[in-house]
Each structure stands twice: as C-alpha cells, then as structure tokens.
C-alpha cells in the first residue's frame, strides 16, 4: 500500500494477528534464571569446589552424628570406674587394642567396640576426641564468621549510608584496627581474658558449657576481625549507589525498596557470602593456633589445636596422634579455601572481566 508521507495513515499490516512462526520467537526456550540459580550452576561446573563442598558436608555431618551413636564419650577415662583402682592398661592404647577388662570380655565371647585410633595418655578413646575436636573447630569457625559478618555489615553499611563525618570517623578507626598486628592482639586479649573473672561471671549460665576461652575468642573476633568486612561492605554500597543501572532504575520510576531488593542486594550479597566463607578457615586457623598455645578451649574439651599440642609430648612414641588432627585440620582448611575460591568465581561474575 502506498503511503502518503504526511498522512497519519497507519500501516494496517502491523495490526494483523501474529502468525504461528512469529509467535515462536516469543516462546521462552528455558525458564529465566535467577542470580542465585546462575551462581549455583557455575559452582557445580567447578569440580574442585564441588568435591570440597562434599568433603565439608561429610565432615560436618560426621561431627554431628558420630558423637550420638559412638559408645564412648570424649571425657570418659576408660581405666577409671567407680570403687575400683585405676586400670593403667587403658592408657596409651595403640589403634585397635583393648584394655584388660575389655580383653577379658572379648575372650568370654562378648563384642567390644574397637578403639579405632587407640586411647590417649588418660585412657580416653582418641577417635571420639578427634570428632569432638573437629566439631569445636568447625563451630568456632562458623560462629566467629557470623559475628564478623554481623558487626562488619552493620558498621560498614552505617558508614556507607551516612557518609560525611560519621564515615570519616569510622574509617579512621577501621584504618587503625586494620594496621594492628592482629595475631599479637588476639594472644594478648586471650591471655588477659583467661585470667580475668570471666569464668566466675558465666558460672551457672548456658555459656559455662562453651567455656570461657571460646567466649574470649569470640570477643576477640568481634573486636578485631570485623574491619575488613566493614571496609568491603562500605565500598560495595558506595560504588553500587553510583552505578548507572541504579540511576536507570530510578529514572524509570522504581521505588527505593525495589532498587535495594533487585539491584543492590544481589550485587552485594555475592561478595558478602564469599568473604564470610573465606573467613571460616581463617577463624579455624586462629582457634587451633590459640589452642596450641594453651589459650584455646578449656580442658577436657578437645579442639584440633589442643589435640595436636597434647600429642607433642609423646611425639616420639605416638606420632599418629599428632598426624591425625593435623590431617583433619589441613583437610578442613584446604577444602574450605577451595570451596570459597569456587564461590567467589561463581557468585562474583564481575571478577571475570
């Protein structure tokens, strides 16, 4: 149809119903993916990270389930029973050996659960001590990172949102804490808190079970380690606020809540998840280090560091007692690190560019 250039005649062809072929263009080939799904897909492609993830899950589940089903307790001194003299045959058993009364039971045809890793110098089943130690180390790593996340996120977002004088003051404090030699300060605080009245203060509360040293460890983490997290989050908020797509969203009439939900959160959350995940192995590192120096968990509760430290006394005859916690701790830290790296690659797509 010939159209007169100045007429307002519409092209009627454009209003014909779409043909089947044209409709095909509009069909969604696959469901639209969310940021989270996309990240998980990328993560699963990374074999190293997936294997590490399953190792972590396996270790975590074992720490939760095994203490329930295991016939021994971490503080059971097997040689000691009420009203009888101490049976020295239970101390320092080699793997799969039995104490005198257990041997008698086996000879009588009864079944006795084996001591897979033997027993320690006080006659405690070593396997269950390693399991409990792993549990403590993982729990400390997890909760310490949570503390760091909460404090860092609060301070960082306050600093980022408020800006101005508040921001300057907070960031100067962060600068100073950041340049403190953290490990020395941790040791100092842990040593001081160990001697302070913390033990009496928590007597009779739930906190007593955890032990004053672990609590002082959490305090130390809360005081010192939040700075890099808060710096990170402040930087994220500052840079994201100025992004073009935020401006574009605002121009097209999006409300503040929608911008935060759809644009700021997904872009921020990846970085936050990754650095929290990478915080866990470093917290486990710190805990085992302090336990090794005798500033960690309260005896008789074991942690991987204190097990290694105790094993150092009998290192020439019972070196496997050091090697076992050493392998466990290295495995945990290694897989958490590799998984964290995988997470970063998967959830921080901007990094690829």
């Amino acid at each position: 149809m010939k159209k007169f250039p100045l007429s307002l005649h519409l092209d009627t062809d454009a209003f014909l119903p779409a043909s089947d072929k044209e409709k095909e263009y509009m069909v969604q080939m696959r469901p639209s993916t969310t940021f989270f799904k996309d990240g998980v897909r990328r993560l699963l492609k990374n074999k190293v990270a997936t294997v590490s993830f399953f190792i972590i899950v396996f270790i975590t589940l074992s720490c939760i389930i095994l203490p329930v089903v295991w016939p021994y307790e971490y503080d059971d001194q097997l040689g000691i029973s009420l009203g009888k003299p101490v049976d020295p045959s239970y101390a320092n058993l080699a793997p799969f050996e039995y104490g005198a009364t257990e041997q008698a039971k086996i000879d009588a045809g009864e079944k006795v659960f084996p001591h897979i890793f033997g027993t320690d110098s006080a006659g405690r089943d070593y396997f269950i001590r390693v399991v409990y130690g792993t549990r403590i180390s993982l729990a400390v790593g997890f909760f310490a990172s949570l503390i760091v996340l909460v404090i860092g996120m609060t301070v960082g977002s306050i600093s980022g949102y408020c800006g101005g004088k508040v921001d300057i003051v907070i960031m100067r404090i962060v600068d100073v804490i950041y340049s403190l030699p953290d490990m020395l300060m941790v040791i100092l605080l842990a040593a001081a808190l160990k001697q302070s009245g913390l033990n009496e203060a928590i007597k009779g509360t739930v906190l007593e079970d955890i032990g004053s040293n672990i609590i002082s460890l959490f305090i130390v983490f809360g005081l010192l380690y939040w700075v890099s997290m808060s710096r990170l989050i402040r930087g994220q908020i500052l840079s994201l606020r100025e992004q073009e797509y935020v401006l574009a969203a605002r121009t097209s009439g999006a409300k503040g809540s929608r911008i935060i939900k759809k644009h700021l959160m997904p872009n921020c959350i990846g970085v936050v998840i990754v650095s929290t995940a990478l915080q866990i192995p470093s917290a486990i590192f710190t805990e085992s280090y302090l336990s090794f120096l005798g500033l960690g968990v309260n005896a008789p509760m074991p942690s991987l560091g204190s097990l290694a430290s105790d094993a150092l006394n009998g290192i020439s005859s019972y070196s496997y007692r050091l090697i076992i916690p050493a392998i466990v701790i290295s495995l945990i830290v290694l897989s958490l690190n590799l998984f964290g790296d995988g997470l970063r690659d998967a959830f921080d797509p901007k990094l690829n560019s």
């Binding site: 030699p181 040791i187 001081a192 280090y289 150092l312 050091l322 830290v333 290694l334």
Partner: protein, 309 residues
C-alpha cells in the same frame, strides 16, 4: 618524588605512629584489667624487683599516672621495667637476647621464601598449565592450608624421628634448619602465587609483545622486562610476611626449643610474667607496623603508576 607521594608517605607514617600508640595503650589497659594488675604477682615478689617496680611505675599511684610513666619510659628510653619472674632482669634485655636468635631465624626464612617463591612462581607462569605448573600450584595450596605448628610437628616427625637426619633441638646451628624451613614454606607459597599471577599479567602486556617483535631473546625478555615488573607486587607482601614469621615463630620456637623471643613470649604467658608479655607484644607490634610501613612506601615509590588512594 612529587608532593602527592610525599603527602601519602606522611599520612602513612602518621597512621603507623597512631597504631603503635594504640598498641601500647591497649596492651597497658588490657593487662590492667587482669585482677591485681600486671605488676602484681600472686606470690610475694623478690623485694628488689618490687622496689624497682615501685620506683619505676609508682604502683601506689592511680592507673592514669602509671600509664603516663609507662608510655614515657618506652618513648624516651625504650624501657619496659623489670621482669617479674626472672630474678630482676630487665624486660628489654630478655627481649634483646631473644631477638638475636629469632632474627637469624626470621631473616633466613624470609630470604629462602623470597628466592624460592620468585623462582617457582616464574617457572609456573612461564610453563603455564603444564605439568610443572600444576605440581607447583597444588604444592603451594597445600602449604598455605597447613598451620605452622602442624607443619613444624610433621617435619619434626619426618626428619628428626623417622630419618634421624637433623637434631630436634634448636640450640645449635643444625637445629635451626628445620625451624627455618617450617617458617619459610607458607610465605614461599604465597610469594609463588603472587609472582605467578603478576608474571602472567606482565607477560600479556604490550611491551612484551613489542620486545618479542623486535627479536629480543627469550631470556632477555624474562629477566630484563618481565621479572623486573612482575616483582613489584611482591613488595606489598613483605609486611604480611614479617607478621606471619613473627606469629609463626611463637609456635615454631616452642616445637623446636629455639631460645628466641617467641618462646620467651609464650613462656611469659604461661608464667604470667605481665611486664614481659607487654614488652614483647609492643616490640613485636612495632616491628610489624614499621615493616608494613616500609613495604607500603617502597611499593608506591618503586611504581609511580600506582594510584595513591
């Protein structure tokens, strides 16, 4: 050096001074929060030590005044008072004795970490994705994931107990070999990874392609062009490396019975020799802060392209 660089350096020095002041203050007040305070002992003190402490810090005076005295003595004479447990020896002398041994340990560990780290990192970068690169990367990943006390203990089992090659006691020169290796493995791994990634970055630059197009030999490209620029980021690692070696030496000296400052520190914690704990913390902290300062400034001075903020 332009005024912007000077401004940056001044700012960094100011921050370092403030940090050291914070360390001293925190150390003093944290230790004063301990029941009885740092200069009191559960047992009756040696009268000479008590008299010296009395005179030095005025123990009957309020805490604020004691703090001023403590701070003044550190700044003017680098004096931390007498030790509580070691028969009236001065804290600074104990630290000085320990530092002599620990410095040997630390410097050797740093030098070995630097040499091997740079070599391994360059090899890995030049043979990217080949077998040797994979081996180096797996090895360094494993070393980074191993706490220093585990590494030290495993080396002790292997070399002193199974193979019987080296003495387990760190008082002789041969006995220092294992502690040095233990301390150097983790920084070496970090330097390897740092060198590898910065070397890969540099090898992709235009000036390398230009050099290759001019017909410059491969050795000359690697040593003359690439390595020189690839090593700049390694400078930033000097500070953290020293911090790692210092904290690592606390446990490594314990494991191998090296009579250094780390062992004195750990023993002072178990003995509750508070003036020694405070003195050692402050001296080591100053060491780390100063090293961080130097490596930061060096980094900016060496590479003028780097953004100063």
């Amino acid at each position: 050096m332009n005024s912007k660089t000077m401004g940056y350096i001044l700012k960094r020095i100011l921050l370092a001074v403030v940090t050291i002041w914070v360390v001293i203050t925190v150390t003093f007040f944290v230790m004063h929060a301990v029941p009885g305070g740092p200069f009191a002992s559960e047992k009756a003190l040696d009268p000479a030590v008590e008299a010296a402490l009395m005179e030095k810090f005025g123990l009957d005076k309020p805490v604020g005044e004691q703090y001023i005295t403590y701070l003044k003595d550190i700044v003017t004479e680098f004096d931390f008072g007498p030790s509580l447990k070691k028969d009236g020896r001065m804290v600074i002398d104990i630290i000085g004795d320990g530092l002599k041994t620990s410095a040997v340990l630390g410097v050797w560990a740093a030098v070995i970490a630097l040499i091997f780290g740079v070599v391994l990192g360059s090899v890995a970068a030049l043979r990217r994705n080949k077998l040797i690169d994979r081996v180096i990367m797996v090895m360094t990943t494993a070393f980074v994931s191993m706490p220093s006390f585990i590494m030290g203990s495993l080396l002790l089992i292997l070399f002193c107990m199974t193979l019987n090659l080296l003495p387990a006691n760190g008082t002789t020169a041969a006995g220092l070999v294992l502690p040095i290796i233990t301390l150097s493995l983790s920084p070496m791994s970090n330097i390897t990874r740092l060198t590898r990634s910065s070397m890969l970055d540099v090898l992709g630059q235009d000036y390398i392609r230009t050099a290759r197009a001019k017909g410059v030999s491969k050795t000359k490209i690697v040593f003359g062009h690439a390595l020189k620029n690839a090593l700049i980021p390694v400078i930033t690692y000097f500070g953290p490396m020293l911090a790692y070696i210092v904290t690592g030496s606390l446990v490594v000296e314990q494991i191998f019975a090296v009579p250094g400052i780390g062992r004195a520190f750990v023993n002072s914690i178990t003995n509750r020799d508070y003036p020694l704990i405070m003195g050692t913390t402050i001296v080591l902290a100053i060491l780390i802060v100063v090293m961080n300062l130097i490596s930061d400034i060096l980094y900016k001075v060496v590479d003028p392209r780097i953004n100063l903020e």
